[in-house]
Amino acid sequence: MNGRPSVLEVNGLTTQFSNRQNRAVTVVDGVDFTVKKGETLGIVGESGCGKSVTSLSIMRLLGKNGAVSGSVRFEGQETLHLSEAEMRKLRGNRMAMIFQEPMTSLNPVLTIGRQIGEVLHLHTSLGPEARKQRVIELLTLVGIPRAKDIYAEYPHRLSGGMRQRVMIAMAMACQPQLLIADEPTTALDVTIQAQMLGLIREMRDNTGMSVMLITHDLGVVAEMCDRVLVMYAGQVIESADVRTLLRAPKHPYTMGLIRSVPHRAKGVKRLYAIPGNVPSPGEWPQGCRFAPRCSEAMPICQQQSPNLLKMADGSECRCWLHAPDAGTEGSERT
């Protein structure tokens, strides 16, 4: 995986929103990562950790009150400074996105064919007839039966799984280099989820595109991803390849998340639970943001925010437990 060129390089991505009192609230705080060609990167975290805002910032889909800074290089090009018109040429073309709730992301008053055709109209020089052909081809590709009939249907006539297939067809229309999938299966049943994950995997393997998969489900991560970032309170707190992360997690938060998955806790009477609540943006504690919920917290954790440290096995972890000099500073730990 290391030898491959990177498709997306994100450095110091910070996103702030201004709230009603006109105070800036940081939601994503200095996130760095790269997505290599053909790889699937998972971003895991609980609600409010900034994983969706990260993807929206990269796509520049935030409203006017979302201020994005840092650097986002897509295929070597800095995209944060592109004009809206230039950005529009990339979106849906070289980089595409699918969202959690397919019903709210499809226009209810346009036919399926018209909506997918719009992407081709914007980004290709195909004529109307050729466009229709291509749309039907795409619908067949994502496994929609009776593609010709569905072409003329409206979104409300389709089931949740079918709608998500339409979203995937739309995203795949221009064979993007990068697909950002934001909780693509959260609203779906397990059997439909299995279908969708299979479809995304198939699309990735056939086209060699990269996938950025945002999810809260560690099972989905295990199944789909090559590498994983774990986010907590706007920061990346751990990053590793999927096997290392699930087998040998380093950050107490990641460990807690994995231990609280019920399916894994076979025969255990009580589940492991991380105490407390996920802090909302603007209410992040000082020092390490996980410290108030952490069972391993040391005095230093409350005072100083740890850096994202490189580990011996190539993973990264933001925790004082793994800092080489923390043993002396946090001497109270036994």
Binding site: E46, D189, L197, H216, P262, L271, A273
Partner: protein
Amino acid sequence: MSQPILEVKGLKKHFASKKGWFQPPSYVQAVNGIDLTVYEGETLSIVGESGCGKSTTGRCLLRLLEPTAGEVRYRGQDLTKLSGKEMRAMRSELQIVFQDPFATLNPKLTIRRILEEPLIAQKVPKEKRTQIIEETIQIVGLTLAHLDRYPHQFSGGQRQRIGIARAIMLRPQLIVADEPVSALDVSIQSQILNLLQDLQEQFGMTYIFISHDLGVVEHISDRVAVMYLGEIVELGRKEELFQSPLHPYTRALISAIPVTDPDEKKERIILQGDLPSPANPPSGCRFHPRCHACMDICKTEVPKETFIAGQMVRCHLYDEKKER
């Protein structure tokens, strides 16, 4: 095994859907003939995909929806025959916890007021109310200071604790928990599951746990009923059901759970197509259009209940005289 607390026979719920003014209505068979026995102190889970009728079943059991047919016997007494007044008195023993804790808490009332409501409805004298409220809020892991706040001041997990507190105010015997952890984050989900288990131990309650999440169900249940299009297709003890599922649908469901171990390769059965509409269910076995083991008989004949080592399954694969 202990005494049955709830016995359900032939429970049906059909919703009429009007086509036009002069056309006869068509019926959506949301729940289509369910037999179920729930034993005292156990946790029985009902699993299934959205639209399979599991929530409708839960509501019919408590008569939050009027069942179309069938009987629901609670400690021998048929709930469907009770008058409104009698049913209201019965509600102190039967309670429900809903999925979305925000939608079920009145935003204009303080937590104290929300928790007081069931006590007022059951005419608990005023002096006792405060005592019960203050006791219960601490049982669910919140503090007295929380009582005078409003629902919006709480996080999702805390709101679900309030929803649970409200359900246990009258110390019920039976709780229907309808997707109580589905709206919560993983780290909070386990807190609530542990709380539910603690309460069960403390008060000896019986749970009917409705969920689509098989991982959660596997953890919390004693017995599991799998529903598909308004019918129970398999029912058995948790261990057997997860170890050796009989119905092809149960097998597919279990194999579709994503496992958090990247090296655990398992055989995956991916179901084709979507759940058919309950307004127009397939003939014969309702699962046959999506079933990989479908035989000719499945298309025409409705499978009967078959018992294999105490596990109930409705599938022609387990018929005595199998026609191939």
